[in-house]
Subunit: 141 residues, 4 copies
Amino acid sequence: MIPVSEHRYRRRAQFAEVDAARIVHFSRYFRYMEEAEHALWRAAGMSIMPPDHTVGWARVGASFDYHAPLRFEDEFDVLIRIAKIGGRSIRYECTITRGDTRIATGTMTVVCVAERDGGMVSTPIPPEIASRFTVSAEATA
Amino acid sequence: MIPVSEHRYRRRAQFAEVDAARIVHFSRYFRYMEEAEHALWRAAGMSIMPPDHTVGWARVGASFDYHAPLRFEDEFDVLIRIAKIGGRSIRYECTITRGDTRIATGTMTVVCVAERDGGMVSTPIPPEIASRFTVSAEATA
Amino acid sequence: MIPVSEHRYRRRAQFAEVDAARIVHFSRYFRYMEEAEHALWRAAGMSIMPPDHTVGWARVGASFDYHAPLRFEDEFDVLIRIAKIGGRSIRYECTITRGDTRIATGTMTVVCVAERDGGMVSTPIPPEIASRFTVSAEATA
Amino acid sequence: MIPVSEHRYRRRAQFAEVDAARIVHFSRYFRYMEEAEHALWRAAGMSIMPPDHTVGWARVGASFDYHAPLRFEDEFDVLIRIAKIGGRSIRYECTITRGDTRIATGTMTVVCVAERDGGMVSTPIPPEIASRFTVSAEATA
């Protein structure tokens, strides 16, 4: 199987995601980015949280810059790319577009964690997971 | 400790809870009712999900009738009452008011469950929990 | 155009919709039902909130009975049916299924409203909207 | 009235905000930061969206770094500070703590906008708003 470096996830803005300013609430973009992340994992033949999971993926940083609003029932694309894979972390970049309009650009860094003594500690990314992903040549950072 | 039969929970409507019609989205009321439920449990000296929990509380039914809207920054009261306690279930009634205005009335029925073989099965309410609650004389059903 | 009486909407359970019990939070079902409602309107050739809307659709009642849980990444169907059309209101029925498993059954009653003096008052359903819908023969109430 | 430069907002983590990893979902922090922003405005004697508002506050950037998780029913503080006030924008810094534990640090930049021709354009911050705020001496950027 060819390693996956990016995924395009299509979504429609739902009514409950739109706020009193009649645009999608800015916090929603982080959910769109995460939905795209999980779709990327499925495209790589995996679930990010299978029933028998031994590792989890703690978010250690996330950001978005907002360029143009999304409105109710807009269809848009969430393009997520792997910008970096470290021994214990993955950095994603994300671009949201509606047709030719650039809506928002985001980043998210996640760390591979395992449960220990009721808490979570960072742990090396299992090789069977790391081997399914590769850094995108289009990533900017 | 005197058993608890009801609890009044004070809340303010937040921006992200308001939809494009500039009123609180109808799905939010179910979260307000649940927040009040958990505040009721705390008022009874318990957490509904302590770290060492052995039982959970599956929702089997929930409803709301909406009488008047809530708007951004409105302060309101969520009054939750225990309407019925069975061997394995609790039925709550809920009234949301803003000052003298009746906003919404809801119900929620929850069943005590335990994990078994990866699923959930109903189980008797532990007596140390049941003893902390009593049916409200004000409940209508 | 043939009037529309029901619509089947396909959805996947997302991570942020799953709660600490690792099942979809019960309040989410009301959003699924509303998403299906809006997809029904699109299937009837309309938007429920077009940019130039003159009427809105206030929710006056909503309920769900929960039969089986949904888990992370489950794919499921939300079947929404028109159970009743009055002069100023529509009653929907909704059944959520995952394959052959019945997950939940819901209802929602909405009233056609127009803005007046900063508030909302009920108003007759415009005939150009009413003519696009018809009651489902499968509805139970 | 003395201009306001920061505000401490107290919150409790609610059940529906906790995800399948049993920690508060990372997207929620952006809502906590916004709730604190609106509490800061109230502390300054204003609403960020009064019924007769002529300007709005578009989010143009937001970020969080996550240091430690929040769990169900945790009580925590959201400290929001004004880091910069420009002619048309405000930059906030935000620190979330639970007791002595640093949970997360965030930033948010908002631009003052007015509606024009159905869209939004940036506009100078009205002086009666700008005069109520001042930059915090504690802000880092």
